[in-house]
Symmetry: D4
């Protein structure tokens, strides 16, 4: 693929560091530096651009590689270019090049989701963590309005190295889970809701103000970020 | 309908508590615990998912059951699956499985709406309250800019056990009604308006700041929540 | 006390309706119309003004009368003018003229508070409800981060005709309580917290977005409004 | 008083247009151009600066002159410098140099205020309008929660050429008055309230979204602006 | 046309006050009470509902009648029902039933618009004012970035009884015009802009904070409100 | 093309100052006064209106002329009217009439963009600066998460007279670049991101709070404004 | 110390779970359930209340115990009551009862702070982590505007199991650090800044939108939360 | 002065790059790298800390050095430590060590301020620019409500290499000046105003949305940043 002319400056980074495609500089040092290849943010890129970046990653042995926020049309373009090694998960709007790593973390990562509508974000987190080499347990539709459903899952929650708590609306799941477990909790607010949920802001604020210690927060609907961070936490001391 | 594989954890809750469909855990204890079956939030679920949950509720005798924020396409899917026992109210975007209960509350619930554009929210409240066993009186288009229209309804307002006040724009109806009646007022801000109405935020804030005591507020456009709460208030001491 | 000259218009309301003090028109019809005398909002009034209004209420037999948001300095001024019949509650910043009514509602009102810092708002609600004729149970420091404390109070919660849920920070108490009880829940967000709690906005938004049905919300720190509304709900069908 | 050296540029405007004091350029053309002398915004100026500007206005025959948002300490400084011709109104935080003009507008301006706490803003409007040559009627404490108090003032409202509606909290007074009268209504939101009143924002938004036509809005607590605009409206066609 | 069944309460207002269509209570007293018939807010109503309301107004002699925020599809429905007496102005999204009144105000109303993109809001104001009986002068594309264009219009601005200043983006036009004229200025923020214009909020805030006295503000894109208010101001003392 | 009748006021500006097209007053003095012809804001204008303005500019020798925020459909209309002299850049949504000026500034302008999705804004800046007579260097996809890519560009950054830093999400590029260079930095926040990026607000706020001195900010996605300002800075002392 | 009468409900929790002091229910199960005793939030409690809670914790062997957001006056009260075992750290507004645990985590926790003004928040994080049994390295004043200072710390950053990144203003430190390390990063926005920093909101938003994966965020100024979470992460798989 | 123990990491940066004081790492490379020594942000530092940093700068020949946002008490502490070489400007809350550089830029920098209350921000800009080697002209109190005052300054504005436009309230000065000049305009919103000025946000938004090209914006009240940037612009091509 010819490089775009939009970057005037010639490729002066060392070959092993970066592949300058003009519209993108693929960070080839990411795998060595951070243990995980560069992840491609699919929104705002064309299918062709995504494919070119994945090719570069594949050619430099940087797999499994993930593409986030890629819709089905772009995924079809990428599939046509990359063949079978590219897999697409429509619920999670996630693409993956190459096979997941074998799980080698401290323990299972639990993905807890408050409602059915939160599942697509939860799946983005789950698939990300699985791809990077983690066992994942899914606990879906355990919102706090039916507390007995949540309490029935107490053993699964206790078994986790990390819990990812996914919730929209009032986002209370993170606080309640945070009070039950002794491991880190990564809270993901979702845009599920209407009116004064303000596209996830209410859940975000609730999670930032959690009265339970040990809870931290990622961006609204950022299932990928939560899964990635959970992976890192689950490999603390195992590196990388 | 086969259960989704997305929840890894097997069904360990007692049969009578919860039906785990994978994508949803139907709360079968809700009727016993709270006097009303679980209400299905239709946004973010497919028609097939909604039908599966309603089947579960029907099979466990948990009717009348409500589905909120369901559009006509999903409603058609549900109707095809459930037959005549499912009724759809397009103005209110509400679906109902089973017959309404007979009215047995303290008195009538009055649903007051400021303008014609607020009617779909008002109807969601009215139908919810009627389904759960309440007499409902509708007073529509009685906004405060034509005060004589509101004052002409004074007797109806006085007869209420609860008033649900539905208004967009500046939301002043709640305060004016709150000053006229001696029963609880449930205020519902609507997203009717433009510009600095901010999708209902102006009405929401006005209602939260009502100078009339005895007014409380639910989420923007949350007709269901208002109707449900009005039902509960209207059954105080009658339980449940 | 001489009437302020700042209102140019002479007193044309019928004697029994209103007492025009110039700076205030005391609403003498409130007791008859709404079952409760006018409540004095203390902020923005001088101690002298508050005393004058209370005098007017007392002279027209409109007690017990409440003054909200009155600081201790103003309270001292009022006490000096009114004598023993005026009682001041510093925690709740509440003043009361006359004795509380005997409890005659459907059942107890439970005031649940998430943390110690929320108690002053909770007390404002509790004292308001007690004054107007309700039995009140206080359940304090039962925030969701220590769920067992909340669950240990399940019987008290179940016994309530109305629950007032008071919480700052992420305000999750309202949702968790709302999922446990079958009576109306009045949620009061408090300004307890820091940073992204935005003076109670996070708790307010969480409560408006509660996934539990049957929850409505009053203004931030509005303990009075919650206690007043709980009183009204607890007297539904008993009127007034 | 020596001129501040902070303005490097010498006084090149024609004498009759502007008096350059260094820290301020007194607009001497304002009276001729707009019918009213420049009004001094007292916040952010020292008492000495205010006195110097007033001296300049007096020396050029530009009275009555107003100073807004001036606290009592600065007012004392100004009084000491200017003598008896300067009058201070502490409730309205307003200072005035020279005598009010005789009323010569189309009719009375009615200043309606929702509550006692709104009076200081209402007085700023009232005194401004009186100074500029208008008859003013004050209707205070006629908030919408006691509608009969407002309706009792219907004749006074009908007699107005302009109504200034002053209210905090939910700001509903503007809409209700706007529905009753056929003259222009100038709405002034006040910062009276707490919690979700956000320092007057809730009232401001409510007034901007008024369902009554003929209502416009000035800044929060801007009694001066409302009084000034009411004066202009009341002199339409009389000019100036 | 049969009345909608959605309003349960029968028509108890006096015939001359209100025509209860079920989905709307047409305020027939508006013309007598406020000098102008009820104006129909077209958004959120169907074409059929709008036509029914206009019929009611026509049958009671309440013309010229205006419909705001009506799109071309609804306008076609109304035209089909009402015939030639209904006129549609697509730029302004305004419909009018009946002929404009003859101009009888104090003087011309000037509609000043900052840019070409603001014209549809400006036209809504202009047509409203013309319909209600005012001479209107249009001054378009005189934004402050080309000050000489604005200054070239100084004579037209000076001749006005009222100026309506329409601007998006930074909304500075209102302040600059406010400093040049001695009549009331009605400022209309528009949603023209992008990014930090926030759909007109930046212009709205600028106009509320205008350093020029005599400026008041209506809602974003509320050309109708501005034209209506300008009409009222232009008829002060002429009534009604 | 006939002039629109929507501006009632006849063309009283001197011929050389302004061409009044009715819907627009083309500012013909701009080139002389500010060194650059008026730039046409394409959003909210029709293709026909844009073409008419460009014709006026061309007829008065005011080229090269730019049209911003013009979509491809409008561009086609303009092309049909103007012929080959009009060029359209779809990535940047920019149109240009006439040839770019020869570069004559102090040095190169560097356009640095954080990610691939920011390129369309970066290109708008780059093309604007090139058109007005500047050498431009593009450095794309050098976001701070891969610092080595940014540091590899240090020489290019040092060579700049001005750097335009384009970034969405957290907008950190501006601060990091600002700490590396000694020339002015113009920061352009973009709407790239999701959730709590709030359409570019997060990047905007970050850039306004930059701890690096010498950074200023333009509106979200305002590539044109940044390119224009960079041009002005690059011609300081060369004028104009 | 006598128990406050404000909680009406007698102590029905099992002795080992909770100590009901009336104003507070000390969670004695926290140590067993979550590995760390309850942490006392000092804001909104009196010195006496804090001392009573600490006594309860000490009497049940729950040390080391932390008090956050305690000012020096309250700390003096607590010191007087508790003696030498209570230590106060004024910079961090932190109190500690009992000795820190010996470090037993996976590796060092690095606390990186952007500026001198951020140190009090950084110290709260550092002391919290040290108390709970972690080695802590402090890297202060390494903001991104002087990138070489940050890069000079690369080895220290690489050695960390967890990095806590503390920054106000534009909060870019989190993203830059996140791009350099392969361990989890806990970002703490601080309220350092002015104007559009909005008390830490700008830094918060920047951190939530970090383009570097592996970053999560806690509340503004929440040094305690960050230190606590870093402790948990550093003990993943070591439990507890 | 002994170094604070709060930074555990020993001084590994090269001597010439950085002086690690523990609480601060003085960036000694700033002068060489960026042409201006590090500027000390005084808020959040003690007088002692400021003095220590200034000592370090002086000892390494890095003067003139500036301290921003330093109150008079801290300034006194610094003066006592540093002697006569430290000068304090209370209006601008600015401290300076060493003499200003001789002016050597392209031309004068004009500092235009809208009102008297904006002068302290304007002075911070003016003194910063003078210190760094620029001729400065001050034009104060030329707000747009008195346009003739602004137009009277047209020649001074035209003579500028850069204009710094300082305004609060509606911030219109930036747009009007931007339309008059052909040099870069740096806009500084100030927190002058009340109500809906939101501490400078309204002015900030107006300036970001300026319809005049060539305007960029710095943080609210950031006079220093504007003066610094103006200096950089005024030295474009002169470097450094």
């Amino acid at each position: 693929m010819p490089h775009s002319p939009c970057s005037d400056v010639t490729q002066r980074e060392p070959e092993s560091q970066c592949d300058n495609l003009g519209f993108a500089r693929v960070d080839l040092a990411r795998l060595r530096r951070q243990g995980v290849p560069e992840v491609v943010y699919g929104a705002g890129k064309t299918g062709e651009q995504i494919a070119a970046i994945l090719e570069s990653l594949r050619d430099h042995g940087q797999t499994p590689a993930l593409v986030t926020r890629i819709d089905s049309a772009k995924a079809a373009t990428v599939s046509a270019a990359m063949g079978n090694s590219f897999e697409y998960f429509p619920d999670a709007r996630l693409g993956r090049l190459g096979s997941p790593r074998a799980p080698d973390g401290h323990g299972p990562i639990v993905i807890a989701a408050a409602g059915t509508s939160d599942i697509h974000v939860a799946e983005e987190a789950a698939l990300t963590a699985e791809t990077l080499g983690n066992e994942v347990k899914r606990l879906y539709d355990i919102g706090v309005a039916g507390l007995h459903r949540l309490i029935a899952c107490a053993d699964d929650l206790s078994s986790a190295s990390v819990v990812v708590a996914v919730a929209g609306m009032e986002g209370a799941l993170a606080s309640v889970v945070g009070g039950l477990v002794s491991c880190p909790v990564v809270a993901v607010p979702t845009s599920v809701g209407y009116g004064a949920s303000f596209g996830g802001v209410s859940a975000l604020l609730a999670m930032l103000n959690s009265c339970a210690a040990g809870v931290s927060v990622v961006n609204i609907d950022n299932g990928f970020g939560a899964g990635f961070l959970a992976h890192r936490i689950n490999h603390t001391g195992i590196r990388k």
